[in-house]
């Protein structure tokens, strides 16, 4: 059923369609409407789940860990400082191999206080063992949550997944979202039934002291799981498309076949970039766009394949790894190096703290790349 809703609600309904049984959340800023809507849906009896209000985001994730370990499907949502406060337990959820799904509204990190779009929050949690999806639009938010559970709960994956959506540009923007009815959703995503769970009839110790003799192997297991996840994400994206008509993958190429300049983008900027590609092509510029939808696991193979014929690779980061460059930029270059591809690359930092990245800004970025020294980082739009 098609309806109009903002990105926050798309996330709430994504959790509801996924038939989550437990939601824990801290309801204070920077929390969003995602959990407010879910608490409403639970109170109205539309969603049969427990909604637990906790005293911090750290506790929200801790509560999800407990509930998920007991063998039920859990969900939480947060943003910026809230995600950062979760950091310790994010690691815990991943290493405990609990397929929790979390919606994170990408917001800038304080100070100065900001509630605006910026991926610094989730990028700084890159190495927690969570898979990361960056949504382009509200439909993507909704669909990604449903797919996230299917991927995360796979017995060979068992890793948590974070679905990221840009603050305001999705969270507060109303768009058409096609909701999936519950029966069809259940066919796609069967009930959660984990092999390992807290069970009084079969008492086990979880997360116990692990000596150097064993710890290493558990990390290796996560490496294996991430490798499996790469295939699984592609496979589930296709399966989802076959059923619901909307196809997803780790990356999405747009007009790159003959493109000399390929933009590499994620989140809402990817959508605006595609629009820009069309406008720039009308001006005779051979531009394409590669959207990175999944950042962890990192889709190096797909990226290499998409960029191998490009003359210029222009990476737009709405984040900055202090002391180095944009996080996506570093990793894209790494992938190209692995494939022996020596292409001119440009690291473009843009849109920080909610600064709008319009088609005009993207045009400016392309022009900047055409006229600047390659293999360098540029901050776009700094007031000088």
């Amino acid at each position: 059923m098609k309806t109009v809703m903002n990105g926050d609600f798309a996330a709430s309904y994504g959790a509801m369609t996924s038939d989550v049984k437990f939601v824990a959340a801290y309801p204070i800023t920077p929390q969003t409407l995602i959990v407010e809507k879910l608490s409403e849906l639970v109170a109205d009896g539309e969603l049969d789940a427990s909604f637990v209000k906790v005293e911090s985001e750290h506790s929200a994730m801790a509560a999800c860990i407990g509930a998920q370990a007991a063998g039920i499907r859990t969900f939480t949502a947060t943003s910026s400082q809230g995600l950062l406060l979760m950091c310790e337990v994010l690691h815990w959820a991943a290493r405990a191999r609990l397929p929790i799904v979390l919606a994170n509204v990408n917001r800038a990190v304080a100070p100065g206080w900001s509630i605006w779009a910026d991926a610094q929050d989730s990028i700084s949690q890159r190495d927690t063992g969570w898979m990361q999806v960056y949504a382009e639009n509200n439909q993507d938010v909704y669909d990604s949550i449903l797919m996230a559970y299917k991927i995360a709960e796979d017995n060979d994956v068992l890793l948590p997944m974070m679905v990221n959506l840009d603050a305001f540009f999705l969270s507060h923007t109303s768009e058409v979202v096609d909701l999936i009815d519950n029966d069809k959703a259940k066919e796609f995503l069967p009930a959660y039934d984990p092999e390992y769970k807290l069970d009084p009839k079969n008492p086990r110790a979880f997360g116990a002291l692990t000596s150097p003799e064993h710890y290493f192997e558990f990390t290796y297991k996560m490496f294996e799981a991430m490798e499996v996840a790469k295939k699984k994400i592609t496979q589930v994206g296709k399966e989802f498309g076959d059923i619901f008509g909307r196809y997803y993958d780790m990356t999405e190429s747009y007009k790159i076949d003959d493109a000399e300049t390929v933009l590499v983008t994620f989140g809402t900027i990817a959508g605006t970039a595609k629009e820009s590609v069309d406008r720039l092509r009308k001006e005779g510029k051979k531009v394409g766009n590669l959207k990175i939808r999944v950042f962890r696991p990192f889709p190096a193979e797909q990226i290499i394949d998409a960029l191998k014929n490009a003359k210029r690779v222009v990476v737009i980061d709405r984040d900055y790894s202090y002391g180095n460059e944009g996080a996506f930029y570093t990793e894209i270059k790494g992938a190209l190096y692995d494939a022996n591809l020596r292409i001119d690359t440009y690291g473009m930092i843009a849109g920080l703290g909610g600064r709008d990245v319009s088609t005009t800004v993207i045009k400016e970025i392309v022009e900047k790349a055409e006229t600047s020294e390659p293999n360098k980082t540029y901050f776009i739009g700094v007031k000088k």
Partner: protein
């Protein structure tokens, strides 16, 4: 006088089934995905590092249940008087420190 509780008599069923034998982890493929004891905790006895054992004096005990509530393992059964499960008691002494009538004493394990 402390309030005396009637503790429910609960003990752990320690019968071990065939699948619950202890499993050795040698190859990575034998590892579970997360750090979880493969066998049941019924076979993974965790008391090996205990230096001394708590001994409850049933005569002195007033059945308040504090030791049972405070034991972090938990390795005390809520019987009356409480009974320590020496398969899991790690000898931390919390029960000893918190018993209001000093009914628990320590006994050296090494002798």
């Amino acid at each position: 006088m402390l309030l005396q509780l009637k503790l429910p008599s609960i003990r752990l069923n320690k019968e071990i089934s065939v699948e619950e034998k202890k499993i050795e982890l040698n190859k990575v493929d034998e590892f579970p995905p997360m750090p979880v004891s493969l066998g049941s905790m019924r076979v993974n006895k965790t008391s090996s590092w205990r230096n001394f054992r708590p001994i409850i004096d049933g005569e002195k005990c007033i059945g308040c249940g504090i030791c049972w509530k405070f034991c972090p393992e938990p390795a005390i059964f809520p019987t009356n008087p409480p009974e320590v499960d020496y398969d899991y008691c790690k000898g931390c002494g919390i029960c000893i420190a918190n018993c209001p009538v000093d009914a628990i004493t320590r006994q050296d394990e090494t002798k």
